[in-house]
Symmetry: C2
């Protein structure tokens, strides 16, 4: 389970493996698709969790650093994340009419980006590509 990876990451970094962090982490692992910290907080609270909003906002960057989730930074005013393993990297098309999000992955595009970075002597760690426009349904 990815639980092991999280535990490992924490100990390597000298952070503690607390029940709050575990709870937050495993709740996130249940989520299919995007989530935002506050909606996660509400969900957990509804389920009876005592974990605070502060702990959620503190744990999320740890998970990002540990490579377990990634920021997808939607068009909205607040940050969105999604878990990384289980779903390989992909980019987004976002319809500005209906809000639909089309996930896509193009190996050619990824390759091309890598070669561009190489040319600039830039060591890419992650990237975010969002294409805004109108989806097929919205003409």
């Amino acid at each position: 389970m990815p639980n092991k990876r999280f535990k490992k990451f924490l100990s390597v970094k000298g952070f503690k493996f607390t029940k709050e962090r575990e709870e937050i982490f495993s709740e996130i692992m249940l989520i299919e698709g995007h989530f935002d910290p506050d909606e996660l907080f509400i969900t957990m609270k509804t389920k009876g969790s005592k974990v605070s909003r502060a702990s959620i906002y503190r744990t999320i960057p740890l998970l990002v650093d540990g490579g377990l989730i990634e920021k997808v930074e939607m068009t909205d005013r607040h940050a969105h994340y999604e878990k990384k393993p289980g779903k390989r990297h992909h980019d987004h098309m976002i319809c500005s009419i209906c809000g639909k999000v089309i996930e896509f992955y193009s190996p050619e595009l990824e390759k091309l980006q890598e070669s561009i970075c190489r040319k600039e002597k830039f060591k890419a760690l992650r990237h975010s590509l969002e294409i805004m426009g109108r989806c097929g349904d919205c003409g």
Copy 2:
């Protein structure tokens, strides 16, 4: 001057060409590189402008819609923009160590994106690609 383009855009959309909008627009055109709305407000205020923060926040989306500026949405907590004409579209590599921003433009990459969108029946209007990592200087 791009001023004409802005005026045209406003009249086509049925919006009014006010002195506030003109002032904001021409101030932006003076800026080389990125800016954020609040720093623009301070700059203008310092120069003696009476334009309100609200008008700045109201005018910026108009300029984006009109294709005169674009959101670059930096890693920060608030939005950044930059003027579009004079400088053709480009994407960004951002060094997470020193913060350096490398602007690049790859016609191949743009072409590839277009063809991917066509495949999804998605009509792309704009996009933002940010590659995070470490620049040459930062190893």
